[in-house]
């Protein structure tokens, strides 16, 4: 439903987005990850028609955003970064305005607004000026605006930024509930969000896609993927370390933490190997007093750091 081909945006000498190709289908929730300034927002702005691409194209439900703008925009729900809204309006007035602009009138408009308000739980603040609302409510007003016309494509720039854990949970549940019917792109900094709601994660860095896969596939690239951590008494740690190292599937062992009389050992597997079974058997046969024993799926932040660059390097390079 979303087809992006070679999308590029240059601002003077700076290339913000450098030829991105992506296809997002119905039922997919694509998590758009990347450091600040990697080109996430710029890409979204081009896909929604706010910015014109320098080259390349984006099609929404087979409507080209540059040549068939209105048709494309009418099937997109877009939550821009920071969820901008007219502060002097109340959520009710604002949503009515959006409904009218999107061509709904009379009872149809009323039901649409009602529906969006229910989904985003805006009821208690419906008649307060948006300027006076808390960050959480403001974000939900933006969200309500984006889903009001039940769009086939939903594009959200950091929908949970600045929300408290309860609000985050509510927004994520909402996105999950809508997911089967739509193609969704969500940009985020929160790696836990990707694991919570995304069926696919794309990491971009310096305007390019550097990773594209399911969250599980990305996790598999982590050094901690399938690593096993066990907590045992300090007295046994030295011997245990040696035993673990001796296992064929173990690549390395690190003693990561020591508190009081317990120590924490982490065994990293050789690629593709599974350790947990072997290590738990070993622990039993060696009669270690295991306090804790667990395997990790991997750490997204590790993958993220490994494949993206920090902002100083990036700024320097993009100007070079």
């Amino acid at each position: 439903m979303i087809e992006i081909e070679g999308l590029t945006k240059r601002f003077g000498p700076v290339t913000a987005v450098a030829g991105i190709n992506l296809k997002v289908g119905k039922g997919e929730v694509l998590g758009f990850l990347g450091p600040n300034g990697a080109g996430k927002s710029t890409t979204m702005k081009m896909v929604t028609g706010f910015l014109a691409p320098t080259s390349g194209r984006a099609r929404i439900c087979s409507h080209d955003i540059e040549n068939d703008t209105l048709a494309a925009q009418s099937v997109i729900g877009y939550l821009p970064e920071g969820a901008p809204a007219y502060g002097d309006m109340t959520p009710r007035q604002f949503l009515q305005f959006i409904a009218r602009v999107r061509g709904f009138s009379g009872n149809d408009a009323k039901t649409r607004v009602q529906d969006a308000v229910e989904k985003t739980e805006l009821d208690p603040v419906l008649d307060q000026p948006i300027d006076t609302l808390s960050k959480g409510f403001k974000r939900r007003v933006g969200l309500a605006q984006a889903i009001l016309h039940d769009p086939a494509v939903l594009i959200m720039d950091e929908p949970t930024d600045g929300l408290d854990p309860n609000q985050k949970h509510a927004v994520r549940s909402l996105i999950r509930a809508m997911a089967p019917q739509k193609a969704i792109i969500v940009s985020t900094h929160l790696l836990e969000e990707v694991e919570a709601i995304c069926t696919r994660a794309v990491i971009i860095d310096r305007g390019r896609v550097v990773a594209d896969g399911t969250p599980a596939q990305l996790l598999a690239r982590s050094r901690h993927h399938n690593a096993v951590t066990l907590t045992i008494p300090v007295a046994q740690a030295g011997a245990a370390k040696a035993k673990l190292k001796a296992l064929g599937a173990v690549a390395s062992v690190e003693q990561s933490l020591q508190s009081g009389d317990t120590a924490q050992l982490t065994a990293f597997p050789k690629s593709g190997a599974l350790l947990i079974e072997e290590i738990s058997k070993l622990a039993v046969s060696e009669k270690w007093d295991v306090k804790e024993l667990y395997a990790e799926a991997g750490r997204l932040d590790e993958v993220f750091r490994a494949i993206t660059t920090d902002d100083t390097t990036r700024a320097r390079e993009s100007r070079a």
Binding site: K9, F11, K45, T48, G49, F50, L51, A52, T69, L70, A71, Q73, S74, I76, Y78, P80, E81, G82, P84, A85, Y86, G87, D88, M89, Q93, F97, I98, R100, V101, R102, G103, P129, Q145
Partner: protein, 244 residues
């Protein structure tokens, strides 16, 4: 029209959602009155007409209209709502025209609220109401001209103060383009055709012509084409920012 109407309604409502509308209208009426009675010496003239009222319209608009137009686009850009507005399925021209018409309608209301002076002059004597009506139409058209200039300038910046100051200067040049201050600048080097063209841009000349009670098609066409020109410029400026 179906695109323009919701944009118009929101924009028009926005004036009254804040104290802006009320402050503007009060100041507008107050200064209009002050100019008419104290500087225009409405009573001392002893003539039952509103020329001392309309004479000052261009000069008041010069400062009051940019105050209305400066926020039209600059505010949207600053608050980020521009992104929302331009990603809604509305053609850009409809957004530009809708916003302009809302601002114009608002100045129209402010102008209409000066009606007590019309009642006053009719109570005191028997003025030529045809001339007064023509002057009102002329004044309204002129306000539209100033607004279109201001809207276009507002689209080029996200700073309202800059939008205001530049609008005042440009509006000033258009107001007095028939005067030596502007014409002397061109006289030194420009051909006569250009000088005549520049002087024909003068709001003062066109407004004065309409205020005599003769609604000449040329004056009407002047204001409408000026509005159309600057709104087209407005569309281009907004679109240029998309290209970045």
């Amino acid at each position: 029209m179906k695109y323009m109407w919701p944009i118009f309604r929101r924009e028009f409502g926005a004036y009254f959602a804040t104290p802006l509308a009320y402050v503007f209208i009060v100041i507008f009426l107050f200064t209009m009155g002050a100019f008419t009675f104290y500087i225009g010496r409405f009573y001392d003239n002893g003539i039952a007409d509103l020329s001392s009222f309309f004479t000052y319209h261009p000069w008041l608009y010069l400062f009051l209209v940019p105050a209305i137009s400066m926020r039209l686009w600059a505010e949207e850009r600053r608050s980020g709502t521009m992104e929302l507005l331009l990603t809604l399925p509305v053609p850009l021209w409809a957004t530009v025209v809708g916003k302009f018409l809302a601002a114009w309608a608002f100045t129209g209301i402010a102008l209409a609220l000066t009606f007590p002076i019309w009642i006053t002059v009719n109570y005191l004597g028997s003025p030529d109401n045809g001339v007064i009506l023509a002057s009102y139409i002329g004044s309204f058209l002129m306000a539209g001209g100033y607004l279109a200039i201001g809207a276009c300038i507002s689209a080029s910046t996200n700073n309202q103060v800059i939008a205001f100051v530049v609008s005042v200067v440009v509006c000033f040049l258009f107001t007095i383009s028939g005067a030596p201050l502007v014409l002397d600048f061109f006289r030194a080097w420009a051909p006569l055709v250009l000088i005549n063209a520049v002087s024909s841009f003068s709001f003062l000349t066109h407004f004065a012509a309409i205020s005599t009670g003769v609604i000449d098609l040329r004056d009407i066409v002047f204001f409408f084409s000026l509005i159309a020109l600057f709104l087209a410029g407005n569309v281009v400026l907004v679109d240029l920012k998309r290209v970045g």
